[in-house]
Each structure stands twice: as structure tokens, then as C-alpha cells.
């Protein structure tokens, strides 16, 4: 008797599945490769939680094509080998249909070339800013599977050079971290500052985690620079800054956004950094950004301050919207639908369960949509890159205060002018 009911139930389920319109296996899996441990663990963990938050909101709006979305997180430890293994197992074993991550360009790049592209899986990074990806895309080697919701180095060097020249500095020394990111940024800065009428006295690369940077600092001091452009991370950056100031270097400092951190200010001593200036990505002043901030605060009891939080939310949401639009969530169709859900002439939709529900309705009606999210309107260029507004800041006492704001259009204009 019981068996009969059981069979009937199975049959009903089968019919139910058969009658549903989409050929999708539930749940839909979204892979995330993020550094939740290791040197970037604290940053990575918050990014990972925000990614999950975006998935939860999408599920509240009914998931993708009627299926709940499963968020499968793997740790990269900030190491490329670990990251590639994690991505491989996500794609081959878990069968994820898209990848979110990684944070460091040095991890995202091997994941892209050895996992995402060969397996035809879309990869959207929240945080990798290296220009190597743009170059790779130009050569056609990403096959269009690469996207990022975070602006590239290109805008960082441009705004850094503008800030330096606008502050009236004429002779600038550059000290930069000897990684893909640092070298790319410093080289661009050298070109940009020449365009804007400044000049470089020395370009000095440093290797991470050295005992002391006295030799590097001494070399950078040659030529009596009136300012220093520093591309570094907090720990080594503090060592370099202390040695620089102690050896008689100027306190006219322009630093990359990676040094906009209390760890750095406190390690050097804010009293020595009163002429410190920097820049960072800014959130555009849009209602969609405010509504994300409110939802985030309601969920986590703290404002979304920290690198990568806005951009990972949008990375996840855009991918899931593209899956919804694609109808079959195959890698290729997700890739082709990402630009269709962020289309400049689409109907505007906002983050949050209601916004997503509305987006799904519109997609079901066959409309094109324009997702305007936590980082504002995303418009991916042909290389998968986005532009973002920038802000400049300085240290005033212990306080980090904003000194200027450049909208996306102004940033694009600045870059266009520099690239001419």
C-alpha cells in the first residue's frame, strides 16, 4: 500500500519536472573562489559573506529559472596554485556553471587561463584590477569568458598622476611593489605623469617581506624628489614610509588605494602623515547604491565599508541575471547574456529581492534590462572591463577625509585624454 503511494509520488514528481518549461537541473550552482584564509583572509571573508548575501537575495526572489541557487565557496588562501585547484574541483566535480573570483590578479589569471576558458565557464572577478586581463582579452585569449565588476589599474594610475600634478608636485619618486599589479601600475603612472607635465626622479621596485628597505629608499631619494608615489600594501608600506621619512624624504606622499587602511596609518603614525593623499574607487551617488547599503546594514549590522563588497554583490547578481536570461545556463549562453542584462538601453532594475523579481518578470516578457547595482550602472566593454567613479582623500589628524570626486564620465574622459 505504502509502496503504491510512494510510486505515485515519484511519478507525480517526474511528471512535474517533465512539464516544467526549463531544461535545468536544480539546484543551480555558483562557484566562488576567494581568499578566506591567508594574508587577505579578513578581507576575503567579508567578500565571501557578501557574495552569499547576494545569492540569498536572489533566492528570495525565486532563484534562477525556478531553481534555488547553491553558493559553493572554496578558499584560495591567496595562492595561485590553491586557487586553480579550487576552481578545477568546482568546475569538474561540483559542476558549477559560473565562477566568482578571485581577489588577487595573480590568482584570477591562472584560474582564467587554465580553468575558466578551457572549460567554457564564465568567470567574474570582484577585485582583480591588473591590466594583464585587458591585454589578454584584446588578444582574444579570454574568449569572452572574463568579466570584472572592479575598475582596472588604468584609472588608478590616471587619478594618481592627476592628484600628484594638481598638488603642484614637479619631481616625483616612485616606489612600487614588484608584482604584476605594482609593476603595471607604476609603468602606467610614469607615462601618465609625463602627459600631465610632471616628471619622475626615480622608479624603484621592492620585493615583499624584506627585512628593511633602506637601500630602496636611498635609491629613491636620489634626485631630491618633492613627492613620493607609493604603490604598496600596509605592512611593507609602513616600513618603507618610516624609513623614507627617517632618512629625510619629503612627507608629500601620494599613495595607492591599497594603503587606505588604518593598519598603515597607525603603523607609521598619523602625526607623520599629515601631507598624505590618496585615491580610491568611489560608489556613485545613486539610489541603487543607497538601497544596497541599507540592505547590507540591515543584514550585517555594519555598513559595507571595505574593499570588494559592492563589487562582489554585483558580480554575483549579474551572473545570476544572465543565467536567468540565458534559459539554459550553459557557459556560452551566460557569457552572451551578461551584456544583455546590463544593456544601456534596457529597462532599469535595482538590487534587492524586489528588484530581482521585477528583472525576472521583464526577462520573462522578453524585454532587455539594465541592472544598476551596488556599484552603479555596470557597462562591460568588449574586454569585460568596467569603469568606476573615483574619489580622492587625505589624512586629517586621525580622520580619513574625502577631498574630491570624479564621476565615471570624468574618469573616462581623463583616461581618454591620457591615452591620446
Amino acid at each position: 500500500m505504502l509502496q503504491k503511494y510512494g510510486l505515485a509520488a515519484v511519478a507525480a514528481t517526474l511528471i512535474g519536472v517533465g512539464s516544467s518549461a526549463h531544461a535545468v537541473d536544480c539546484p543551480v550552482k555558483l562557484g566562488a573562489i576567494l581568499p578566506v584564509s591567508g594574508p587577505m583572509g579578513q578581507v576575503g571573508e567579508r567578500i565571501a559573506e557578501t557574495g552569499l548575501f547576494a545569492v540569498e537575495q536572489f533566492n528570495e526572489a525565486g532563484g534562477v529559472l525556478g531553481c534555488p541557487v547553491e553558493y559553493v565557496l572554496r578558499d584560495t588562501q591567496g595562492q595561485s596554485a590553491v586557487g586553480v585547484d579550487a576552481a578545477k574541483s568546482l568546475v569538474d566535480l561540483d559542476g558549477v556553471q559560473a565562477l566568482i573570483g578571485a581577489v588577487s590578479s595573480g590568482v584570477s589569471l591562472p584560474v582564467l587561463t587554465s580553468v575558466a576558458v578551457p572549460s567554457r565557464v564564465v568567470q567574474v572577478s570582484c577585485c582583480s584590477s591588473s591590466e594583464s586581463f585587458t591585454a589578454l582579452a584584446e588578444e582574444g585569449k579570454t574568449e569572452g569568458y572574463w568579466f570584472r565588476t572592479y575598475a582596472t589599474n588604468r584609472s588608478q594610475s590616471a587619478i594618481g598622476a592627476k592628484l600628484t600634478v594638481d598638488s603642484g608636485f614637479k619631481n616625483t619618486a616612485v616606489i612600487y611593489v614588484n608584482t604584476d599589479f605594482g609593476v603595471g601600475l607604476a609603468k602606467r603612472f610614469e607615462q601618465d605623469i609625463a602627459k600631465l607635465g610632471g616628471s619622475i626622479t626615480a622608479m624603484v621596485a621592492y620585493n615583499e617581506s624584506q627585512q628593511s628597505y633602506r637601500a630602496e629608499v636611498t635609491k629613491a631619494l636620489e634626485g631630491n624628489p618633492d613627492s613620493l608615489y607609493l604603490v604598496a600594501f600596509p605592512v611593507d608600506g609602513a616600513t618603507i614610509t618610516r624609513e623614507w621619512l627617517a632618512l629625510g624624504g619629503t612627507d608629500n606622499l601620494i599613495v595607492n588605494n591599497s594603503l587606505r587602511s588604518d593598519d598603515y596609518f597607525q603603523a607609521v603614525g598619523p602625526q607623520f602623515l599629515q601631507n598624505l593623499q590618496g585615491y580610491d574607487s568611489a560608489q556613485p551617488r545613486l539610489p541603487s547604491v543607497d538601497s544596497f547599503n541599507e540592505m547590507f546594514e540591515a543584514r550585517f549590522d555594519s555598513p559595507p565599508n571595505g574593499p570588494g563588497l559592492h563589487s562582489v554583490y554585483d558580480a554575483v547578481t549579474v551572473v545570476l541575471l544572465a543565467m536567468e536570461a540565458s534559459g539554459d545556463i550553459a557557459g556560452e549562453s551566460i557569457r552572451d547574456h551578461i551584456r544583455l542584462v546590463t544593456s544601456p538601453d534596457g529597462i532599469e532594475v535595482h538590487p534587492g529581492p524586489e528588484g530581482i523579481a521585477r528583472a525576472k518578470e521583464l526577462l520573462a516578457e522578453g524585454q532587455t534590462i539594465r541592472y544598476v547595482g551596488a556599484t552603479g550602472a555596470l557597462s562591460f566593454d568588449r574586454n569585460g572591463d568596467v569603469q568606476a567613479p573615483k574619489m580622492t582623500w587625505k589624512l586629517d589628524g586621525d580622520e580619513n577625509v574625502e577631498t574630491g570626486y570624479l564621476s565615471t564620465a570624468e574618469v573616462a574622459e581623463l583616461i581618454r585624454m591620457l591615452d591620446e
Binding site: 621596485a205 624584506q210 637601500a215 616600513t239 627617517a246
Partner: protein, 303 residues
Amino acid sequence: MILQHIADGILSGAIVALGAIGLSFTMKMLRFANFSHSELLTWGAYSALVFLAFFSSFGGFFDQAIGPFSFGPDLLLAMLCACIATSVIALLLHRFVFERLSRTAGHMTMVFASFGVALTLRHLVVLIWGSDPIYYSRELQFAILLPGNIRVMPDQVFLLGLTVVVVIALHLFMSRSRTGIAMRGVAESPDLARASGVNVDRIITWVWAIGASGAAIGGVLYGMTVQLRPELGFSLILPLFAAAILGGTGSLYGAVLGGLIVGLSENLSVMVIPTTYKPAVPFLLILAILYFRPEGIFGERSR
């Protein structure tokens, strides 16, 4: 600018020299390459932090900075205590790891054991004090301008002075005291020394204590002029080995000269090669020494 690079080289060489003395002695007298020696610098520096908190809590005289320096008597006392603490750590390691292994295990086992000890020591530091950099004093010391357009910080002058004092004291100890002479005897041949009535175990205790104290002083001076990090010792491991091998193992002056050469060549190299290749310089030095004079500058040709 060349003078500045020379000054920087001598200053960073002095710290390497202090660490290399102990490494060189243990390598010669205990006959194995102790990769955990560099961690004794880290432990010296961090243990001084504990004693510093203790002494500075007295306030007043202890807390007052001396003259142009960034530190007061409290740090000097803390350094002394750190020497004792680090010696105790070294002796415990000897008693429970190296001595036990040396009875039965081969040379390579000792080397790998020292790697294991190094990892354990380093991560214990992370466990206790965390991985963020720490400073003895938050104050930033500005460099003074010396003739020849050389900039040095007062603390660095102290560093150099103290290194010279330590080396002279060790020289007198090695050449005048009975223990020092016996130590040289053990270095030559432990069996012969034992036959002549030298208490070899007591001498080995002295070797560890001297090596660990030198490392502790080097670590504290490093922490004073740069900062404290768990990788403090680890990042010095190559320079230390280069200095010890360069000078010839077991030689006091060899280790000091080796340290200075390593420091100078690292700092002067940036005038000709890009700064990013600087960490490779000690490697090249080790290769060159092993090729041309494997026994080191002051070392004796082995039979």
C-alpha cells in the same frame, strides 16, 4: 650617494654579523647547519618586548629616553633579559632535540630537524604575538646629517657601537679566559679536548649561550631600528649563512667580516642592478665562496 650606500651596508651588516657569530660557532663546534638559528633573533626581539613592558611599567628613570636615542634604560635591561631568555630556549632545543638526535641520527637528519624547529619557533611567535608588525617605540626617529651627506639615525650609531663592544668582549673572552681557550680546543677536536680534561658539555652550553645572546642582541637592535615581525629571522637566514660561510665557520672575525661584506654587497648592488634583484646577492656570494674558497676567508683548509 655611494657613501650613503656604504653606511647603510655597514649598519645592516652589523646585525647580520651578530647573528652569524652564533651560527658560525654552532656550525663548527656542533657540526651541523642549524637553520633554526635565525629564529633565535626573532625570539630575542620578541622576548625583549615582554621584558620591556615589565621594566617600563616602573616608569620614571626607566622610561626616559637616553640622549638622542629612541629608547631608555628599560630597553637595555630588556635586551639583557632577552639574552638570557634566548639562551634558555637554545639550551632547551639542544637538550631535547639536537643532542638527542646527534647521538643516533646522521647529519642530514639534524639539518631537517633544525628546519622543523625553525618552523615551530616562527609560528609560535605568530600564535603568541600575532602576525602584525610591532614597534618598541611608536616614535619615528629622524636621521641626522653626517659629513659626506650621509644620513643615519642615532639608534643606528648605537647599534654599530654596541656591535663593536660585543665583538671586542667576545675576542677577549675567546683569547684570555680558560673557557674561551677550551672552546677553541673543542672546535678543533672534541675528542682531543675531552682527553685533555676539558668538560665538553659545559663548553657546548657556553657555545649555545654565546650564540643565542648574540642573536638576541641582533634581534633587539633590528627591532629597534626597523620593526618586529614574525619573519624577522627568516628573512635574515640567507645573509646569515652567507656571512658564516664567507668568514669561515668557527671564526669570530670571519663572521663579523662576513656580515659586513654581505651587508655592503647587498646595499652597493642596487647601484648597478635593479633593487628587485637585491635578495639574490647573498645567494651569489655563497656560490662564489663555495667555488673559490670553500673554507672561507678565515677558515682553515680541512685535511
